[in-house]
């Protein structure tokens, strides 16, 4: 039972890391109805910018600010050169544009900052917390706990921002209908640039945490794959949904990786395992069958 709890806690903490990436998707989808395929690439670009600035001798706080400025500029450029031309286009056209953007960023980032694996030390040690290990024999990483705290704070801040500020309301109006929002005087271009900058900020936080754990390298773009089932589960439009989805996906994939392969081996023989890449998608698929809009997504009703 002790082992079960260890796996469960580890999974929940990993799930929060997935939520961080999923948040970036949710933000842009909420504000523009665009499923931003480039979010994984943005995580990579943000982390590379951060280590790039650190390599140039900037202290961590300054490198973080500079990286945020770079991400904001990227957001503004995306709005100006990609999205502005596509106002009121179909969602699939906007989605395709973000696929192009993803490949562009993935190519641009190593050209600007180099292609090596960068270490990133943000002063957090990824080691088990001693007293939990001693008292309960359960490994809980201090790094994971700090990351979880950071993610929760970010979510709380974003939820309040969307719910209670004028800009937040404008963001939601834009998401509902571009043209209607324009007709009542909401500055669409500013809103889009702003939301891409905020998504850039989230990507920077995610990139910083994932990068300090696994090194800043191209593989950071794969973190987006971890966020997709989270989105399907939590809903594309809900910030709390991204968190709850992340927790469910994180815990279930870890429990599945531990407990399902031995059962399959008993039945079929051979060696199973490495299922955590596809298991979350199966879970998300099953969820889709029951709640297509996700746990917290907005139910879409059309008048017939």
């Amino acid at each position: 039972m002790q082992f079960f709890f260890e796996v469960l806690i580890g999974g929940l903490l990993s799930g929060i890391m997935y939520s961080l990436v999923a948040l970036g998707f949710v933000l842009i989808y909420k504000a523009s109805g665009v499923f931003n395929f480039a979010q994984g690439a943005m995580v990579y670009f943000a982390a590379l910018s951060l280590v790039g600035c650190l390599e140039k001798g900037a202290p961590l706080w300054l490198a973080f600010i500079l990286a945020f400025v770079i991400m904001t500029l990227l957001g503004i450029a995306t709005e100006k050169f990609v999205l502005r031309k596509m106002v009121n286009q179909s969602p699939i056209a906007l989605f395709m544009a973000t696929i192009g953007l993803a490949f562009f960023i993935e190519g641009l980032a190593p050209m600007l900052w180099g292609n090596q694996v960068w270490p990133l030390d943000i002063g957090l040690v990824d080691e088990p917390i001693g007293w939990i290990l001693d008292r309960y024999n359960i490994v809980v990483s201090s790094f994971d706990l700090t990351a979880a705290g950071l993610a929760m704070a970010l979510v709380a801040g974003l939820a309040l921002f969307f719910q209670y500020t004028r800009v937040g309301r404008a963001l939601r109006a834009v998401a509902d209908d571009h043209q209607a929002a324009l007709s009542i005087g909401i500055p669409l271009q500013h809103i889009w640039a702003l939301v891409w900058a905020v998504a850039g900020f989230v990507a920077l936080v995610a990139g910083m945490l994932w990068g300090s754990r696994n090194g800043v390298q191209y593989a950071l773009t794969f973190t987006a794959l971890k966020a997709l089932p989270v989105l399907i589960l939590g809903g594309f439009t809900s910030v709390p949904g991204a968190i709850v989805g992340g927790l469910i996906i994180g815990a279930s994939e870890k429990l599945a990786e531990i407990y399902i392969p031995p059962v399959l081996t008993d039945i079929f023989g051979g060696n199973f395992g490495g299922i955590e890449n596809w298991f979350p998608y199966v879970l998300a698929l099953l969820f889709l069958l029951v709640r297509p809009e996700g746990l917290f997504g907005e139910r879409h009703i059309d008048r017939v």
Binding site: V117, L220, G273
Partner: protein, 442 residues
């Protein structure tokens, strides 16, 4: 005036096109062409960068020293991003250029090698798989065009077991070893050898796969913690290696009990892991450092002339850079071997290069003459042994650099080579290949 400029421009373009068309034909006779389906971007780009940087630097070095007995080396890179489909595409694009006088093809990818084993044999182009690829291709009677040179995954796994056995007073009976592997063709290659060794040495083998790319290994390491193994042997690549080292730290597993394969033992794996990597061990078939005279001379000659392939010169002397140099040394020596038989100063054709690879004899004396003493083990190939060595060293990360722990260790040939043979025979049967009679090959 404008019309005149236009006419001159058209005439110049035609002249340049004609010159470009005639030049390759004129130069082809004196050039050995290496196709390089390499990768410098994508998830494993950092590794490819160092390896191919070293490889090209050595080719340049040879050219600057007058070529291979006067034959200059030409090469063309094609980006595969470590992707099998792109690897095949690169091969198809470049093979026509290589058909006259090829260098051995190096893909540095087990998956791409798998895809090219049959194709390269059909096209009669020699495929080198140094420390990766299809293990059973050691049997040259079935695989005349494929060369898993130096050592293979299975011999490496066997050598690691030998090392652990020596470390434990000559016996591993009752010990538990976890095999943590990249869930791919590469990761699965040594399982056969580890299982055979487990039967022989009476240790318990627990196999734990990690799904690609391996950037999340919480569950795997929780299982390792539960299993409480004596050692973890890791067959990782790219981000998987660093994640494993860091997660081992998180789970409190001692890095001194982790041994990686030679693709999990470079600076790219340890430097970004920081202090977590200290004490971690790995196998290697080449040493690191600029202490090898050849590496120092490449830096002086090639980089001194501003012809170095890498912008980041801190990569010189790293494990993967030196591995690239080692792979190029073996390739050039194979061509030299062929020239000794078929004519010095001539570019070698595909069959001749194949013969050179099959009759390599890179002795310590030859390595010394090249300034490469200790860089890699001696290699002596033959028709029925395309591996030629089967030896590796064990090394340990001391926090700043790789330190060799042992001399060259050879795996259990009596146990492992019959496994190759059986697998090769099965392959020959499936593909309807009649194996060559190696006793008649000379």
């Amino acid at each position: 005036m404008f019309k005149r400029i236009k006419q001159v421009a058209i005439a110049a373009s035609i002249a340049a096109a004609c010159l470009a068309a005639t030049l390759p034909a004129a130069r082809a006779a004196e050039e050995q062409f290496f196709m390089l389906p390499d990768y410098r971007v994508g998830p494993y780009g950092a590794n490819g960068q160092s390896f191919y940087g070293g490889f090209i630097d050595y080719l340049n070095y040879v050219n600057m020293k007058g070529g291979i007995d006067g034959v200059q080396i030409a090469w063309e890179e094609c980006e595969t991003e470590y992707n099998n489909a792109k690897g095949v595409e690169c091969y198809e694009r470049l093979k026509s250029k290589a058909q006259k006088a090829p260098g051995p093809i190096h893909t540095m990818s087990t998956g791409i090698s798998y895809a090219l084993v049959d194709k390269s044999a059909a096209d009669k182009l020699p495929l080198a798989m140094m420390g990766y690829g299809l293990t059973s291709a050691v049997d040259g009677s079935v695989f005349p065009w494929s060369f898993p040179l130096v050592t293979t995954y299975q011999m490496q796994a066997s050598a690691i077991i030998k090392f652990l056995k020596d470390k434990n007073g000559g016996s591993l009976a009752g010990k538990k070893i976890v095999f943590l592997y990249h869930d791919s063709a590469y990761g699965k290659e040594p399982i056969l050898a580890l299982e055979a060794e487990a039967r022989l040495n009476k240790y318990t083998l627990v196999q734990i796969p990690v799904a690609h790319p391996g950037n999340e290994q919480g569950a795997q390491w929780q299982r390792i913690r539960q299993e409480q193994p004596d050692y973890v042997i890791m067959w990782g690549w790219g981000v998987m290696n660093m994640t494993a080292i860091k997660t081992a730290q998180k789970m409190g597993f001692p890095r001194e009990k982790m041994i990686g394969s030679w693709w999990a033992g470079s600076e790219e794996d340890t430097v970004p892991a920081g202090d977590a990597a200290k004490g971690y061990m790995s196998a290697t078939w080449n040493v690191a450092g600029k202490g090898v005279p050849l590496i120092a001379d490449i830096e002086k000659t090639v980089y001194g002339a501003g012809k170095g392939n890498l912008k980041d010169t801190s990569k010189l002397g790293t494990i993967l850079y030196n591995r690239g140099v080692s792979a190029a040394v073996l390739s050039v020596e194979a061509i030299r071997t062929a020239q000794a038989k078929y004519g010095k100063g001539k570019a070698m054709g595909p069959e001749q290069v194949r013969w050179g690879l099959e009759n390599l004899n890179l002795t310590d004396a030859r390595l010394k003459a090249l300034g490469a003493t200790g860089l890699l083990p001696e290699v002596k190939t033959s028709c029925d042994n395309h591996e030629g060595s089967g030896k590796v060293k064990m090394q340990q990360w001391d926090g700043t650099k790789w330190v060799p722990l042992t001399d060259w260790i050879e795996g259990n040939k009596q146990l492992i080579h019959p496994l190759f043979k059986a697998d090769a025979a099965k392959y020959a049967k499936e593909k309807g290949i009649t194996p060559r009679d190696c006793s008649k090959e000379k």
